[in-house]
Symmetry: D2
């Protein structure tokens, strides 16, 4: 169960970071959906390592091979199998990782869970898995062409965007390498990342995501609420520590008389503290949410730790890692959003109201 | 799918707030677990309406009738069916609710989703559904007797606890009606709720929950991560807007060198910003998280709104509602925690390492 | 998982034969379906014990209480919870059953599986569980009003119907207590059952079922094939030993040139050895299948057996049991058919072709 | 849902017969299981086309590439992704298949279901899909090394084995190309197939399967009964029309006093008409069942049919097909048996009785 996301549109994935390949099966896509394979590859490019000076230098083409389920540019209604080969694995020498637990990684917990672990790298716990999600998300987005999904970096360390999303120009998101649509703030963020990087350190941050033109009626009470499904999907992304939607944690400090969204006579609402969802079901307004990412745990500085046998050890910096994950997390958050929406969209079709 | 929580320990529920009964089926409990039915009823009492001056005055005995799956005080390994009758329904006159959409409720979205709605009350969107969860959670807690689950109110409006949970005495949680283990802060919270209530207004707040003695190894990579499952469960609770665990949103402002939890030679960690979970798998340290609740949308003051036909209307205050839900949310957060832990505990059994 | 049938229309059941109640949750019914509760109760009457001289004399009203999901005669799109009380339990003295394993029952296997067992009766292994299925099937049938579902007894012991189903008058099925639409054959069957009953013995038999007006396109390749789902459902019924559809086991003796169903120009087929299903998907022709039931294992004659401790023992005849289950199996086969069709019908809606 | 088999050990597959590749993900295998990849490939060889004069001459190496989940010869507890390339696709000219519906194939029903179809060949409805199952089954068999799984051809057309399985020598199954352990009967079967082949015709047949050393306690009441799960799996195999276990359809003609299996004092039974399963749960005795396959629908003789537009047409013989599928079905039946047993074995682990 742990490797399947979704209930009627289901992504099942596989792959260790230093194994032969990542890949998966996207099952449940209805027949007749036009698929532009280049859009899938374009999404992969946004997540790919090595794309800028502030991302890891691991080199992966991240070429998605679509193996089934699509014929003459359209879905067949059958499962879409895909594979993404691992190329730059460098798994030659992993004697240290075999012995030493990296702090705030999953080495220890995988050993406790399974009694065995792919010591060549992060294995299944690596964020390389998110390549699968981006591929599947980009396929699913084509089921919902009218919906727009825009994620952007809303903070890096202590540097925050200082404007509500409604005032931003989302076409600027990819105008800079940190993927913040406010160019001046973006500059500050990039500088902060570069400083941390020079110090062998890392930074956390947040990603905000806005879903527009989501039809009203998506979300399944009571355990398939749209925002609960989004929370689950976002919390599945590596390094995520928190999720809030609409008014979020701020909303907990408000009074009901401030917080209620009054209806217009066309059933839109004057405010949108609800974040486009009421009772777990979309109401047609913008859906927006914010995701918190901790700083990357792999540092380019020595760290004290313990070995598998409980001996003190020092972990020497090595390898290729992101000083801050949020720029590359942007397409991942978008992909997970598409997967959740696609699943709930198909579930709603069963009401037969379309 | 919307009414089932869990994968191998599965709770499937039913019930409209003004229908005949709430109830459900808890399937997957292994055989031979000793069940104390009084512990179930005791949990219900903590969630029950009408228990104090700061909760709704709806009167419900919330007596859980266990119909199957238990014989001579032990589980049979078969599903546990249960029913909780609705008694104080007062569904006589619902002509207004039939016509007028309440702001920030699910009236409009249910109509958009289903084309029909139980207009006698909140129907399936009512928080009365959480009675089912508390019953099932209290059953599940008995599968995991060594684990301790403690939730408490950590803020009401702008009043916050001012101490880390490690310094609190959880035996004080139920010493006051707001369920905050810091008695002086609790007094302030109660007063704030009473003020809001007098004004016909409502307040939001947060609940923090601490899970102790959770065995290492629980959580299923990559879509069954323990914290993602907790997030999903908590976000399923009515009025919840946000979830964070461990360092949470604060962690996003930190550097990796500050945030990493160093190992002791017994594999415990010196700090616990990870919140007891690494790579989605419990590591044996305390698991803690915080849940944000918006202020209740039902106000005891007139509100402008629209009718089903898009006509302007005024919603008159009426009925019986909580001025602040967080005190009653405490046992709900605990119940949902137990359900998630129980499910992942049984999944881990399949590794055959026990 | 063991107590849930279906994927998007899901029946989850509970109940021990000598516990407080049977019951279940039918989740996934779309909103707006008109429900006639009397049709549900009428189906229960056909399955009910004590309805004729050739069925068990256990007395159960089998009154289904519908607790949720229906409002003003229509489904709400929310789960339908229901309860059927056990009345004639007679669980006073079960000291023998606690000690002695009944031959060809599930006493021994339940003990091996769970280490514990409800010794008051068959517990969860009792055919009383099928009361839940009949209730849920009768609800589901109302989702598919155009489909006709007719099961009938096609053999008892060595007495077989001697005509293809196309030549039968299904309105005669309930004209006799054995539920065979060929009255003269029915007489022979009844007599054979009465003879067996007098001898304290039991008889097996077969039930044939015909589904008409099933829309083409139902069935999900490759593990949700319509006939595989029917086989699973039928094999779930107590005492069933075999399933065949279309040409069935006879088809295995044929040549392809005999067996292929030639198309007419309206895409109907000239023969129907396929049984209305090709590649696991309905083709619009009649679907028909046959289900084999073993003779009831409870005899009204002494039987040698062993105790729980492995001691030789004699099981004395006692209690109230059916000399032949097939007459009462007819509504169960129909109910299971409806549940499978309803589930696949809703799955097909996701193709968006309706 | 249609492309996933199993509940906790789950096989999700993909692939069209004339697409790039078949493949799948086997999720749920516990960690630490020793995997011999050669055993997987050996199973593939038994299913492979072109292996003898009585099978299709399509040439496929059917090399399984294992992409994840296994490290240094042991499972990691993570999903096992695999791919099987399609090599001998010959999809150049498929203009006729695009236009004409083949009798008793899934061409018409796929069009009705999806509105679109991979016209290059059978697509998803092709028995080529079973290559995935054999791969996954051979992996799963290594989870259950003590269980023996033996299928064999028990009839071809009107030629039946004439001995109970207990008297057969299973080591002879692969001593002939028809896979019947009775060499003289095998000769007759082979001859019958050769005659049919010369006439451009095809034959049906049956496969019997025997599962030995299955531990008692496997099977999940009430919808996860072991025999119901086996029936579902077997009926999922292309061309299957019927399933029976234990006494099967013959059992329906018996009396209870003949049919009941009396216990020995070690809880084995003197007879085994139950087929090793009571109440859906294995009892430790041999499990045996029989599966009916219709004759292959592709004939090497002209057939009348209709075009997609409802015009009369003649289908000319072409291509490469099996005159009788049962010899190649033997490893498929075995693979599906292993998948069902593996799933139920892991479910039983959750009882914690191991």
């Amino acid at each position: 169960m742990g490797n399947t996301l979704g209930e009627v549109l289901r992504l099942t994935t596989f792959g260790e970071s230093h194994g032969a390949a990542m890949g998966g099966v996207l099952d449940g896509m209805p027949a007749g959906v036009e698929i532009d394979a280049e859009r899938v590859q374009a999404a992969m490019q946004r997540r790919r390592p090595g794309q800028s000076a502030i991302t890891t230098q691991r080199k992966e083409a991240d070429k998605v091979e679509l193996l089934s389920g699509i014929f003459e540019g359209k879905t067949l209604g059958t499962p879409i199998g895909f594979v993404i080969r691992n190329e730059d694995q460098k798994s030659g020498d992993y004697s240290e990782m075999q012995q030493v637990y990296r702090p705030s990684h999953a080495d220890y917990t995988y050993d406790k869970k399974y009694g065995v672990r792919d010591v060549r790298g992060g294995g299944r716990s690596s964020a390389r898995e998110t390549a699968n999600w981006v591929a599947a998300g980009a396929l699913t987005a084509q089921l919902l062409p009218e919906v727009s999904v825009h994620a952007f970096v809303s903070s890096v360390g202590n540097i925050f965007v200082n404007s509500p999303y409604e005032k931003m120009d989302f076409s600027l998101i990819d105008s800079n390498i940190v993927r913040c649509p406010m160019p001046e703030i973006a500059e500050e963020m990039i500088e902060a990342i570069e400083v941390a990087k020079k110090q062998g350190d890392t930074l956390g941050g947040t990603v905000t995501c806005v879903l527009r033109n989501v039809p009203a009626g998506l979300g399944e009470p009571v355990f398939g609420k749209l925002h609960a499904r989004l929370a689950h999907a976002m919390m599945s992304i590596n390094a995520v520590k928190g999720f809030e939607y609409g008014s979020g944690f701020c909303g907990a400090q408000m009074r009901g008389s401030e917080h209620n969204d009054r209806f217009n006579t066309d059933f839109s609402t004057q405010s949108n503290l609800s974040g486009g969802i009421q009772g777990g079901i979309s109401n047609g307004m913008d859906i927006y949410f914010r995701v918190a990412f901790k700083p990357v745990a792999t540092l380019m500085q020595p760290q004290n730790t313990v070995s598998k046998d409980g001996e003190s050890a020092v972990l020497q910096p090595k390898g290729r890692h992101d000083p801050c994950v949020v720029p590359r997390a942007v397409p991942i958050v978008e992909a997970m959003s598409s997967l959740v929406l696609g699943d709930l969209y198909l579930q709603q079709r069963m009401q037969g109201m379309g």
